[in-house]
Amino acid sequence: MSALAITAGFADPVIEAQAHFHALMNALARPGSIQPFPAALDAPAPLTPELAAVALTLADHEATLWLDETLAASKSVVDYLRFHTGARLVANPSDAAFALVADVAAMPSLASFAQGTDEYPDRSTTIIVAVETLAAGGELELAGPGIEDRTRFDLSPRPAGLAAQLAANRAKFPRGVDLVFVGAREVAALPRTTLVSEV
């Protein structure tokens, strides 16, 4: 392996990590809102710059990372994440603190990730899904904490049976997973508290 095989991380790790965290925090605090996500990273395909930015912002040796089959099959992606985050990569989605999903069509069910326990619902997976587009307005109607009344949201491509899976996830509250969707230079999230209905 040559020393040049791994591309660079954030140019300014302190300031850029804060900026990306700020966007993630606002996305989770205001479900369905679309936040700008600069993600100026030269990440190896199929890892999108936005997925890489989330991993570099939140993952380290204390947080486990699960990669979907597409990502795990790429040695350069695995090397990149190992080098920049130091996070332990896990094979079982139910062991993951964070899951990176590049191929929405092959995404495992939400129930296969860590759900947390009743005493410690925080011990659950935050799933980061790369999608093509995020849209304010659209076919998903959201309500719950972080949303003043109701809001509309949509994403494309949509994971199979998303609304039904989210309803099952919501029913487990306070257990459950949180979803973060990254598109081109933008991010939105659906935490476990959000009630989602298709209209």
Binding site: F21, H22, A29, T193
Partner: protein
């Protein structure tokens, strides 16, 4: 009178008690007076610094931005995101030693350090005031280690770190408020074992808290909790709002601002997302009520604000002024005058 569970530090002192607690004392005092007045059959007679706009400071060299190392920030950031996803749930985090004693806001400082960016404008209040020791030192801490702009004006701030008050001015969607929390567990004085309180939260079994409030009513005729008044967040978790007077509880309900809570000594972070239901616990026949003051602020004549009592002399003279110093100064700058505003020491020699 003051029950606390602060531990004794290696210095032999309980450092926390060096800090002023007049907002909490005022809340207790108001209730005691009300109960005395009711007992006597008389109607209750509840009696009721310079502004600084945003200034940026150069960051001192030798510190990472905002003091904490990046790994610590990531750990805190992960806890904050979980806290937001599970409103009112206390997320454990590995709280670090900070260059200040426990009880002086180490939890709030760590949360602020994890979220603050170079473009943020920071305001810090302690007991409602921008000018007390805790507020000044934390503001200087971030001016020095992060080089961020600081302000005393609520409207200009993007991050407000607070000890024991929520500003009177309505917060906005652009703002985040960070609370310094001494005891995050609302059930701690009712059940000392963490394993058991975890279980009670898991089962949403808050009967103990209702029994406590009921016992207050049977003994005093009132719910005798006047600050750190327990709230139910998003119809699920019961949460301590930190020792803000219960006067501030309604401000948490459906607040447009994100509310983050950091408890350094107890190593817990929790959150209330914007536009989230926050209900103060009560009973149908004893509904939740906030403190009322029968006089307006003596300096700016504001009503429906929380007032601090200031002793004027040794003959029982006293005045009641806004606890939120920025709000009071803004109103005075707008020309509002209270009955004692001419006598206020810092207005002497001024334009008035």
């Amino acid at each position: 009178m003051l029950s606390h569970c602060d531990n004794v530090q290696a210095t032999g002192f309980v450092e926390h008690l060096k800090l002023p607690h007049y907002v909490d004392f005022q809340a207790e005092l108001g209730l005691v007076r009300q109960m005395r007045a009711e007992y006597a059959g008389a109607p209750a007679r509840a009696e009721g610094g310079g502004r600084m706009s945003a200034v940026a400071a150069p960051q001192a060299s030798g510190y990472n931005f905002a003091y904490l190392d990046e790994q610590t920030k990531r750990m805190i950031r992960r806890a904050i995101l979980k806290g937001i996803a599970i409103p009112g749930y206390q997320v454990p985090f590995s709280s670090r030693e900070m260059p200040m004693p426990y009880g002086w806001g180490t939890g709030g400082v760590q949360v602020t350090a994890a979220i603050i960016g170079p473009d943020d404008v920071l305001k810090v209040i302690d007991q409602g005031s921008d000018d007390t020791t805790n507020a000044v030192s934390i503001r200087k801490f971030f001016a020095k280690t992060a080089g961020v702009a600081t302000t005393t004006e609520t409207k200009d701030a993007t991050i407000i770190q607070t000890r024991h008050r929520i500003p009177e001015r309505q917060l906005t969607e652009k703002q985040t408020i960070v609370f310094q929390v001494p005891i995050p567990e609302p059930l701690r004085f009712l059940e000392p074992r963490e394993t058991e309180t975890r279980k009670l939260h898991a089962l949403a079994d808050y009967g103990l808290m209702h029994v406590k409030l009921y016992e207050d009513i049977s003994r005093h005729g009132h719910i005798a909790t006047t600050y750190d008044y327990p709230v139910e967040v998003a119809d699920r978790y019961v949460m301590n709002p930190s020792p803000t007077p219960k006067f501030d509880n309604p401000k948490m309900h459906m607040s447009p601002a994100l509310q983050l809570f950091g408890a350094g000594r107890e190593k817990r972070i929790y959150a209330v997302p914007p536009f989230t239901k926050v209900r103060s616990l009560d009973f149908e026949d004893h509904p939740f009520e906030v403190q009322k003051f029968d006089k307006p602020c003596a300096l700016c004549a504001a009503t429906n604000v929380y007032l601090d009592e200031v002793v004027l002399d040794d003959r029982g003279g006293r005045m009641f002024v806004c606890s939120d110093s920025d709000y009071c100064e803004e109103r005075r700058a707008d020309g509002h005058r209270g009955e004692l505003s001419g006598e206020a020491p810092h207005l002497v020699g001024g334009a008035a």
